[in-house]
Amino acid sequence: MRAPSDMRGQLDLLLLSAVSAGPAHGYGVIERVREQSAGAFDLREGTVYPALHRLERHGLLESRWSDEAPRRRRVYAITDSGLGSLEIKRREWSAFAGAVQAVIAR
């Protein structure tokens, strides 16, 4: 089994998972990850936007401008391809985490 050890892979998993809960703008995605991880993942904001753009170029996310008050924002939503990719990444991560747990629990 290949370990999903590179940060980009984990960042993609976190972002896709956060956006899969519902459309959100970049700031909202960062806040969502921070809240859901109880503050453990305080993502560097400068890395999140390039990642969101990359995921959109891959067809895993789509985005549009939202002019709802009080600010204009770019809102991201997950695509069907993104849901499929998220499912694969979730399974890979679960298998990896389970294997690590099995080793360290001895």
């Binding site: 400068g46 891959h58 204009r72």
Partner: protein
């Protein structure tokens, strides 16, 4: 402070046009929103170094090509289809007078595969899931077509027989057997015995080159639009 951060980002950003405006606007809105909660200094600190952020938006050419591999593969497939049409037309009509069965051959044998390829490529260019869904069936159709051509089964057999006869006729008009009237079967049999008769070699080259080329391209296309490889399939099965 936010404005100077954005100015530095713009200075170092190697992205142009609408994408550039979008990046600057998006980060500007983000920084102002963050500043409303945390203050300008903290908002800028949390965003990080503008040069590093700018470079993150500018992937290397090889990375960009890899990200766009599905579209590149679609364009390659479409280009190969378009490029093969004049050659196919020439081959169908070489040395033949009057009506040709070119369109019948094309419609009955190749058109379904070409239609699936066309729909899949257009969908893949637009990043629709249909493009990836059709890539597997397309490879299967191309493999079946290649098998028919390589094994010289109908309707490929008839077409290549006509092609060989046409080429023999072009190369050796009309006195190939001492100006004696001969049947098509006799003409082909004499070509089989004649080491200088290259019609069979040409037919084999066309069969192999077209079949292997189409199979390779379809395999590449499948990988590019779905990311599918036998190794990945095994890993997914293991995880399931």
């Amino acid at each position: 402070m936010i404005e100077s951060w954005l100015a530095e980002l713009e200075r170092q950003l190697r992205v142009h046009g609408r994408r550039r405006r979008r990046i600057v606007d998006e980060l500007s809105y983000h920084l102002h929103e963050s500043a409303a909660t945390h203050g300008e200094a903290e908002a800028v600190r949390r965003m990080g170094d503008p040069g590093e952020v700018a470079r993150s938006f500018t992937p290397r050419l090889i990375d960009r090509a890899f990200e766009q591999r599905d579209r590149l593969a679609s364009l390659t497939m479409l280009a190969a289809m378009v490029a093969s049409l004049p050659l196919a037309w020439t081959l169908e009509n070489v040395g033949r007078e009057g009506d040709s069965r070119a369109w019948v051959w094309f419609l009955v044998f190749l058109a379904p595969t070409a239609a699936v390829a066309l729909v899949s490529c257009v969908a893949a260019l637009r990043r629709l899931p249909l493009g990836a869904r059709l890539a597997g069936p397309l490879l299967a159709m191309v493999a079946a077509t290649a098998l028919v051509v390589l094994l010289d089964l109908p309707p490929a057999r008839g077409e290549f027989r006509e092609y060989r006869l046409a080429e023999i006729g072009v190369a050796k008009p009309p006195c190939y057997l001492g100006c004696m009237p001969v049947t098509a079967d006799e003409l082909l049999a004499s070509c089989d015995r004649d080491s200088n008769c290259v019609a069979n070699d040409h037919a084999s080259e066309i069969r192999i080159n077209y079949s292997v080329g189409a199979l390779t391209l379809s395999g590449f296309y499948l990988w590019a639009v779905t990311g599918w490889t036998p190794r990945r399939r095994r890993r997914e099965r293991a995880l399931a």
